[in-house]
Subunit: 216 residues, 2 copies
Amino acid sequence: MNSLTEENYLKALFNLSGGKGEATVNELSRQLGIKMPTVNSMMKKLAEKKLVLYQSYKPLKLTDKGRKEAAMVIRKHRLTEMFLVEKMGFGWDEVHQIAEQVEHIHAPVFFEKMDLLLGFPKVDPHGSPIPDKNGKMDWVNYRKLSDCNAGEAVILAAVTHSSDEFLKFLNSRDLGLGVKVKIKSVEIFDGSMIVSYGKRNAEALSKMVCENLLVH
Amino acid sequence: MNSLTEENYLKALFNLSGGKGEATVNELSRQLGIKMPTVNSMMKKLAEKKLVLYQSYKPLKLTDKGRKEAAMVIRKHRLTEMFLVEKMGFGWDEVHQIAEQVEHIHAPVFFEKMDLLLGFPKVDPHGSPIPDKNGKMDWVNYRKLSDCNAGEAVILAAVTHSSDEFLKFLNSRDLGLGVKVKIKSVEIFDGSMIVSYGKRNAEALSKMVCENLLVH
DNA sequence: TTATAAAGTTAGAGTATCCTAACATTAAAA
DNA sequence: TTTTAATGTTAGGATACTCTAACTTTATAA
């Protein structure tokens, strides 16, 4: 059984090593807000537990076991977020902090019940995929809004990170998942976009915002 | 902000000091399964935080502050149990272990939402009162079933402790809160009772069981 | 009332998690 | 290619929570 602390390291490593399957001590350190030497020794500890592949001065990788255990924490986090939104009436900008705590609860039936009551959802309220009980996660091929072109019409499918401020900003512009957005123009010099959707006819979105919105 | 560990000490002390308002280091030690010297030093720490009144070789008391903080943990525990039973479909024998973990979540909105969705319940699934937001708890004057006499008809209102085995035993006999029980006879030599309720006409309940059932 | 048992306390040590300071290696730049 | 900057590692120490062993105080009983 992993400690709460270990679970947080595994989760962070899982999230960081998304693409290439590896991450550095430095990245993990910044992600967790924990100093490098501390991260370093925790990596050795997790390597002893066969959760992480550790070699001096080499990037970190999760073992299959480590990846699965990380995925289960993420599964619990995302099921919780979905439950909070769908069954308890919270907004998508309120659930991250709560789920951050609930994800560490050791009670399989609790999360299986959520899963059942929710009808086995595939994504969380931010559009992120929910790993299944075996730790498998469907990665759908979303595009960044910022990679789309003027004239296209796309549907918001996910946000890449779920910080309070970003979600509140989206709320304030009536932007939520499933919203159909038409790209009216793209500014060359700063990458910002003018888009229309719902009742809004000419909303400006900065490059930063467009990079954090995933569409299909 | 109290740590999870501190919260467990406060809760245990609250529960133990029910009647006379005090408890001993030894009792707390046995309740928590933690050795006396450890309890002793934690009591000094909590005394520094003005949560406990500590004097060498004297019984322990909670301060008003300590009592309130303990009550909030118990409130979270009992609201959680109620939510798990009423809104998620768990049995009353399944919720204690889960609530034991959920009670330590720091997110007032989470528990306020439960409270709201439940319609501000006054008791948990085991009949124990839920402290209000100020830590106030209505102690209703229940009687032990074992203190009742042959011929009386009473209604089960609470169980004094919610161990898995005890609750499963009650389930197996169709005994739940709200059940109207008639006492047909009381055995003098061992304190056991013959009772009737629902479709059962002559069920024997040991003294032990009768002492753990509260009625009105 | 003194002897003994129970409860409470102190001292010292171990594990988990974190830190800073100093040193080593690798990667980047001159 | 040598220097420098960034990253990684080791060493040693701090805090929170736990323990055992030994000692003190209080309560019980002879």
